[in-house]
Symmetry: C2
């Protein structure tokens, strides 16, 4: 038996003290702590309880060290006083799809509810500026931290977006956890290449109950981008620097989360962001240009692809394992210009003979793979390894999964890999 992840002693402690998840409490232990009792997850032990402090941080308190727990107030109940601001027919229409993540977890964190959910009413209430610039309809697609998203989630998001391709919305926001946002962005960029509306993936690095939260500003900037710029395609909209005056609008296949915690963690690799959203203007990078293409959704992914980072001492047998396990492709994060040690040549040759696609990217992340400069690169080309230009490794992985699922044979697949479908090659 468990309640919001509490079980055994932890659950007993809470029950006997009549404390519910989401309650504001004061706990006397080695020190006195005030905060909200948070839910726990299934793998947690049973001798800690988790308290969210006013600072926004969670701490785990050991049951044995708790001298006293005092209830200060019961969980805030979601008030169903939905302030439906009357839609203003003069304003553009925006759809907000929520998939989960920190940006959608404000309510979760404040009340202790397990399932984060962002309704239109909650959104309007938390970011009142939005209602003044657009009419926003919100829809909860699912509620997952993005580290738990899988290719089947990409498919659900893409299918949902596709269903709105001809709708009356001016643009669509996808609220998404930041951990795997770049993978989802690439997946949408390939599967929905040519999508006729602007789509902005928006996340936040700090939940909105923290003073430094980036959630509201990212949402406002994304909304402004969608209704002011009208640039179709998939973008990732997040802080551009450590202050609040610039939000970057990064093109889906060229963006990477480059810092664990900074609000400006997302960076366009190999150049500036496609757009910079400032308080009074939105500036387009001169180089940024998406070639127009017909919208033909191809929403399939084959996840039998291994992303393999090469390093000194890597046992080549891992490639044998991939062959034997039915993988259909390997994206290598090679060293430098796109190399691996000679120890790998034999298994790479074997993988090619077994029909696997092998693509080369660089663990340097930035810069072009150039496999004709050194013998090591030329040897790998001879073995049938495909150089993937300046495609970033995570994008190359997603593209390989996509190309394998949307091609009729290996020639067709290689053709797709070479084609610049969604600006994944930027040079």
């Amino acid at each position: 038996m468990s309640q919001f992840g509490y079980k055994g002693k932890g659950l007993e402690f809470l029950t006997s003290n009549k404390i519910e998840i989401g309650s504001q409490v004061k706990i006397h232990a080695d020190s006195i702590y005030s905060g909200v009792i948070m839910p726990r997850y299934e793998h947690s032990d049973d001798h800690h309880i988790v308290l969210k402090l006013k600072s926004g941080y969670n701490i785990g308190l050991e049951l044995d060290k708790i001298k006293k727990i005092e209830l200060e107030s019961a969980p805030l109940m979601k008030k169903e006083t939905v302030h439906h601001s009357q839609p203003n027919p003069k304003l553009p229409k925006i759809l907000l799809l929520s998939t989960g993540g920190t940006i959608a977890s404000r309510i979760d964190y404040r009340t202790g509810a397990v399932t984060p959910a962002l309704t239109a009413a909650e959104l309007n209430a938390s970011v009142p500026e939005l209602a003044t610039i657009a009419n926003i309809d919100a829809e909860v697609l699912f509620s997952e931290y993005s580290e738990n998203l899988l290719p089947q989630h990409w498919i659900k998001i893409a299918e949902k977006l596709d269903s709105y391709a001809k709708s009356g919305y001016d643009g669509i926001i996808v609220a998404h956890g930041t951990d795997t946002m770049q993978y989802t962005a690439s997946a949408l960029a390939f599967s929905l290449a040519g999508f006729p509306k602007p789509v902005a993936l928006v996340g936040s690095q700090r939940s909105s109950d923290r003073p430094s939260s980036d959630a509201a500003l990212n949402l406002i900037a994304a909304t402004r981008f969608l209704i002011e710029v009208h640039s179709p395609g998939i973008f990732v909209v997040m802080h551009n620097n450590s202050s609040d005056d610039e939000i970057a609008c990064n093109w889906a296949t060229r963006v990477r989360k480059n810092h664990t915690s900074r609000r400006d963690a997302f960076k366009t690799i190999g150049g500036p962001p496609a757009y910079i959203i400032k308080s009074r203007s939105i500036e387009k990078d001169k180089q940024f240009d998406i070639p127009k293409r017909e919208y033909v959704p191809r929403i399939k992914f084959d996840s039998r692809v291994l992303l393999l980072k090469y390093y000194p001492g890597l046992d080549p047998k891992i490639v044998d394992y991939a062959i034997d396990s039915g993988y259909r492709g390997i994206v290598i994060e090679g060293t430098g210009l796109g190399h691996v040690g000679k120890t790998m040549y034999e298994v790479i040759e074997k993988a090619k003979k077994n029909g696997l696609f092998i693509g080369m990217t660089s663990q340097c992340i930035d810069g072009m793979v150039r496999m004709t400069v050194y013998d090591s690169g030329r040897d790998l080309l001879n073995l049938g390894v495909m150089p993937l230009g300046n495609m970033i490794p995570e994008t190359a992985l997603v593209k390989t999964m996509w190309a394998l699922a949307n091609s009729k044979d290996s020639n067709d697949m290689v053709k797709l890999m070479k084609e610049n479908i969604a600006l994944e090659f930027s040079d």
Copy 2:
């Protein structure tokens, strides 16, 4: 039968035309090409020959398309007119160990010799400024592109350095390919923690026969750093920006090759370089400080460690494979603050039960892993995953290989992993 990698038709073509590797030739094909015949590697096909053009680039020419080949001059023979500049007893003594790579391949590229080798005489001839600031002895340890280096090469370099720990040299330069230089730097920093002399790993991103080569300036800066600063420990000395006025001296465990081709590809992660070497001064970063420690070399590595980058769709069975194959540790490049999807929990638990060390780093590269912020992180902590702070993934991999080989049991190993041995934790 093969000669410098040429075999079959290619070898026949060269032999019948009496052309040796290293010859200056003019080739008539779709166009006329002038250049030097380059060696090839064992996996190359037999219907191309490789020509190094004056621009410094190599091209492969298809035999079937070659109409005529003309010998312009025979290979430049290494002239043994060794200009041994008389050692100046007033100057400091520097040892230069060459391991291969672009920096040591000038002679290779110019004459077409297969084995790059940098002798003291060649070095003095190519960078005459060096002889005015130090007496340099050179020793060729091996000649490999660094993508071919393995942990056993780290051991050879470390043992060689150890043998000079009490020598009369003021410092030691290790000429090294750039592809895996950061791995070797970390390996030396751990195995030779407390090394009493300054050691500078130096590479070049462009070979010295190209006008834009960074080889000479990096070598001069490294030499100046060794004799002017006297800061013991392992550093990586490479260009700091795209001009030639600043060379960065990066601390071994905090540096990463972040661009495939730029001369300033190497960056200290999470802060500025330890030193900036300018034309008239060497500036130390105020934060940089190596705690003094007794020099006790521990030169062993266990390469049974898997560096595993998490991504959506990663098949958890790869961890079963690692367990079954006798791996002793896994360094995960998780998402964000140090997460993996729930699909991985079960195999991680199994790996822990089987005694594997599992360390968590972030694929963001920059920033701290913080596994107490979200449930996903706390779940992984409960499963026994060790958060590795802001250690960069490649350094964490090398440290895990090192700690496994230099500890008597798993508690001892974990203790080593937590200890800040060589500034691998910088916060």
